[in-house]
Symmetry: C2
Subunit: 136 residues, 2 copies
Amino acid sequence: MTSTEPARPAVRPTRQRRAVTAALAAFDDFRSAQEIHDLITRQGDSVGLATVYRALSALADSGEVDMLRSEDGEAIWRRCSDTHHHHLVCRSCGATVEVEGPAVERWTSAIAGEHGYADISHTLEIFGTCPACRVS
Amino acid sequence: MTSTEPARPAVRPTRQRRAVTAALAAFDDFRSAQEIHDLITRQGDSVGLATVYRALSALADSGEVDMLRSEDGEAIWRRCSDTHHHHLVCRSCGATVEVEGPAVERWTSAIAGEHGYADISHTLEIFGTCPACRVS
DNA sequence: CCTGAGTTGACAACGATTCTCAACATCGCT
DNA sequence: AGCGATGTTGAGAATCGTTGTCAACTCAGG
């Protein structure tokens, strides 16, 4: 503890990063980087796709957004609350419900510990058809 | 019911498909299509990469292999027992433990039902560092 | 041996993501 | 405000996993 400095991340609040954050705020469900980029473009802003990826990764690292993989492996993103949780995603319309599962958390670390695995992370996503899409 | 024929899938047990099955049998953990293809090649057999993908997809459809996504979105495959289960995968060496979680199954369908979602599927994978890799 | 349907392989095509690198924007300081 | 150091950006090329294309091929069985 040589000082109280939080290692100065030197992350700058640029126009681009703000645009990405704003776009995320406009969505309630998980979106691909491309969709987010499209929204930004449609709103008149101009931000490079690569920059969108960079911003999203940074936000994911800092825990401000969730990134998960759709069933076909594409990365999809969504702003999130800061607590750990999982998602119930509608396969057809993308509607998302955030769910918490203390039981699952406990179960995964128990299982992992049982087998001597350390430094655990886990993914748990539920896909289904939501009531609205069900009536078709 | 015009007959008892099971819709004759007409899937032929070719040399290539046998090679893929054999390669899968040689692994205990999840491997990418490319690794599987490499193994086949190294064993002297010659099978096109596209064919490996086709065979793996077919096997996955028929439930003979598990396909899941590694943390970076790549598809990885492994032969599997026929019961539904999840995996505890070592991030560094790929060692896999198959785990069952009746509690989790129950939890996911409960959650889904609670929100009116139907036709549920879920993914739950645990990543960590196994004891062997831990000692480094 | 002939024929038809499933299969294959080489390679092009694709799509998501990352890399490259020169031009640019900010920050901290004076 | 002016400066220099350093993080950031954009356009496009480059990667890389995966899928599509299509002519050649392989079986099964008549």
